[in-house]
C-alpha cells in the first residue's frame, strides 16, 4: 500500500459529514489501488447513497481483483449494503459470483438484492469457465431465472426478464427463453413486464440479423 492510499483511507475513516465522506470515497476510488478494496466495500454499510455509488464505481474499475473481497465481505445484516455488493458483482460479471447470485436471486428477502442478482445472472462471463463447468453454470443461471420470472412481485419479474434477455445471447439457451417469453406475453397482467419482453425480443432479432450479415 502506498503512503497516498493510506492517507486516502484515513480520510474516509475520519470524514465527519456525509459530503466529506462522499468526497473522500471519490478520491479513494480514483486511486485505483487494490489496497483500497476493503475500505470501499465497508462504505456500503454507511447509509450514504452518494458515497456508496462512488465506491461501486471504484470497485467496478478494479474488476476481478475486487471479487474475492466482495464475496467474503457480503453484509448479511444490512440489505442496503448487500444490494450494493450484488450490483457490483453483477457489473464485474466474474463467474466466481455465480453461487452468490443464484442464491440471492431466489432467497434474499430484499427485492433490491434479488433484482440486482437476477440482472447479474444473465451477464456473467461464462466464457471464463472450462467447457463442462460452463454448461452447468449456464443451465443453473437459466433455471434460476425461469423460476424467478414467476415471482409475485412485478419488479422481480422485470429483473428476471432483463437477465433472461442477456442470457439469450447464448445460442443453446435461446429456445427455452423464447418459450418463456411467449408464456409471459400471454399471461402476465403487468403491461410493463410485457413491454420489457417485447423489447428483449426486438433486441434479440436485431442481434441475430447483425450476426447473420
Amino acid at each position: 500500500m502506498t503512503a497516498t492510499t493510506q492517507q486516502l483511507i484515513r480520510s474516509v475513516a475520519e470524514a465527519d459529514s456525509p459530503a466529506q465522506m462522499t468526497a473522500a470515497v471519490k478520491k479513494l476510488a480514483a486511486a485505483k489501488d487494490e489496497a483500497a478494496i476493503p475500505t470501499l466495500i465497508a462504505v456500503f454499510g454507511y447509509n450514504n447513497p452518494e458515497a456508496a455509488a462512488a465506491a461501486v464505481a471504484g470497485l467496478i474499475a478494479l474488476k476481478e481483483a475486487a471479487v474475492p473481497y466482495l464475496l467474503a465481505q457480503i453484509d448479511d445484516y444490512n440489505y442496503g449494503a448487500r444490494a450494493y455488493s450484488i450490483r457490483t458483482l453483477a457489473a464485474i460479471a466474474d463467474p466466481r459470483a455465480l453461487e452468490v447470485l443464484l442464491s440471492s436471486a431466489v432467497n434474499d428477502f430484499a427485492p433490491s438484492v434479488r433484482c440486482a442478482a437476477a440482472k447479474g445472472l444473465g451477464n456473467l462471463q461464462f466464457c471464463k469457465l472450462d467447457p463442462p463447468q460452463r454448461q452447468t453454470a449456464q443451465t443453473k443461471a437459466l433455471e434460476t431465472l425461469l423460476l424467478v420470472s414467476q415471482d409475485p412481485n412485478w419488479l422481480i419479474r422485470y429483473a428476471a426478464v432483463v437477465g433472461l434477455e442477456a442470457l439469450a445471447k447464448i445460442p443453446q439457451l435461446q429456445q427455452p427463453i423464447q418459450t418463456r417469453f411467449a408464456q409471459i406475453l400471454a399471461t402476465d397482467t403487468e403491461q410493463a413486464i410485457c413491454a420489457r419482453v417485447q423489447l428483449a425480443q426486438k433486441l434479440g432479432i436485431e442481434d441475430k440479423l447483425q450476426t447473420e450479415n
Binding site: P49, A110, S112, A118, Q191, A192, R196, Q198, L199
Partner: protein, 276 residues
C-alpha cells in the same frame, strides 16, 4: 401510494383466511377480527357483490370506536372498497366525506380517486370551497382540517376540470406536499407542462420524504419529460422504478395495441434496467 414499494416485502405475512371466513368475520363480535377482515378483503382484492355489500354496511358501523371518536372499521372498509373497483361503492364513499373522523374522510377520498367516478366531484369540491386559508392544522392533531392531498388527487384522477379554479390556489399552500398534490391534479386536468416541471423541481428538495412524494406524483401522471430526472433523483431505487413504471404504463396506453414500442417507452425501460 407506497404500498407496493415497501422494501421489507414479505410473502408470508398472509394469515390463513379464506374469502368466506373474512366475510363472516366482518360480522364477528370480536372487533379486531372485523377490522382485520375488512383490510384483508381489500388487500387480496376479493371482488364479489357479497363482499361489497358487507363492506358498504361496515361504512355505517357504530360499534368500533377509538378513544378520540374515530371509526377504525369504517376506515378499513372505505380503503378496501377503493381496491375492489365496484362503482356501487361510490354513494357510500361520498357519504363518508362528511364523517367526523378525518381518517374516514381521507380513506374515502383515496378510494374515490381509485374509482375515478365523477359523481363524487361535487362532494369533493365542497371540501375545497373554504379555500387555502381554511386548510390549516387541527390543533393537537397530526393532520389538516381536511385530507387535502387525497381530495386534490381524486379530483385530478377523475378529470374534474370544473374543479380547476378551486385547485389552483392550493399550489400556494404552505405545505409542499399539498402543493405537489395540487400540481399533480392541475397537470392531469390541463396537460400543461408547467405543472409537471413544478414536480420535477420538487425532486431537488432537501427533504427525502418530499422527493418520494414528487416521484410518486410524476409516476402517477406519466410525465415523460421527467424520466431522466427521476432516474437521477436522490431516492431509493425501488421508488424510482415504481415512478418509471408509471411513465412506461402511461406511454403504453397511448400506443396502438402495443405491438411496437415507441422510442420513449424504450428510453424508460433502459433507465429502469440501469436501476436494477
Amino acid at each position: 401510494m407506497t404500498e407496493a414499494t415497501a422494501e421489507e416485502y414479505s410473502p408470508t405475512n398472509a394469515p390463513p383466511l379464506t374469502k368466506e371466513q373474512a366475510l363472516s368475520n366482518l360480522q364477528s363480535p370480536d372487533l379486531s377480527l372485523r377490522y382485520y377482515a375488512a383490510w384483508w378483503l381489500g388487500k387480496f382484492r376479493v371482488r364479489s357483490p357479497a363482499v361489497v355489500d358487507a363492506l358498504l354496511a361496515a361504512l355505517e358501523d357504530e360499534t368500533d370506536r377509538t378513544e378520540m371518536g374515530g371509526y377504525p372499521l369504517r376506515r378499513n372498509a372505505a380503503r378496501a372498497l377503493g381496491k375492489l373497483g365496484d362503482l356501487r361503492a361510490v354513494p357510500g364513499l361520498i357519504k363518508c366525506l362528511q364523517c367526523s373522523d378525518f381518517y374516514v374522510r381521507e380513506a374515502a377520498a383515496q378510494s374515490l380517486a381509485m374509482l375515478k367516478d365523477k359523481r363524487a366531484a361535487q362532494a369533493l369540491m365542497q371540501l375545497l370551497e373554504p379555500g387555502v386559508a381554511a386548510a390549516v392544522q387541527v390543533p393537537g392533531r397530526p393532520h389538516l382540517t381536511q385530507p387535502y392531498e387525497a381530495i386534490l388527487e381524486a379530483l385530478g384522477a377523475m378529470g374534474a376540470t370544473e374543479a380547476i379554479p378551486l385547485i389552483e390556489p392550493f399550489l400556494e399552500h404552505p405545505m409542499p406536499r399539498v402543493q405537489c398534490a395540487a400540481a399533480r391534479a392541475m397537470y392531469q386536468l390541463t396537460r400543461d407542462f408547467c405543472y409537471g416541471e413544478y414536480l420535477v423541481k420538487m425532486l431537488d428538495s432537501s427533504n427525502l420524504q418530499l422527493r418520494r412524494v414528487a416521484l410518486a406524483d410524476l409516476g402517477a401522471i406519466g410525465y415523460m419529460p421527467a424520466a431522466e430526472a427521476i432516474a437521477a433523483a436522490k431516492v431509493e431505487n425501488s421508488f424510482k422504478l415504481l415512478a418509471l413504471k408509471g411513465l412506461l404504463e402511461h406511454q403504453l396506453q397511448q400506443e396502438s395495441q402495443g405491438l411496437f414500442l415507441t422510442a420513449d417507452a424504450i428510453r424508460v425501460m433502459n433507465l429502469m434496467d440501469s436501476l436494477l
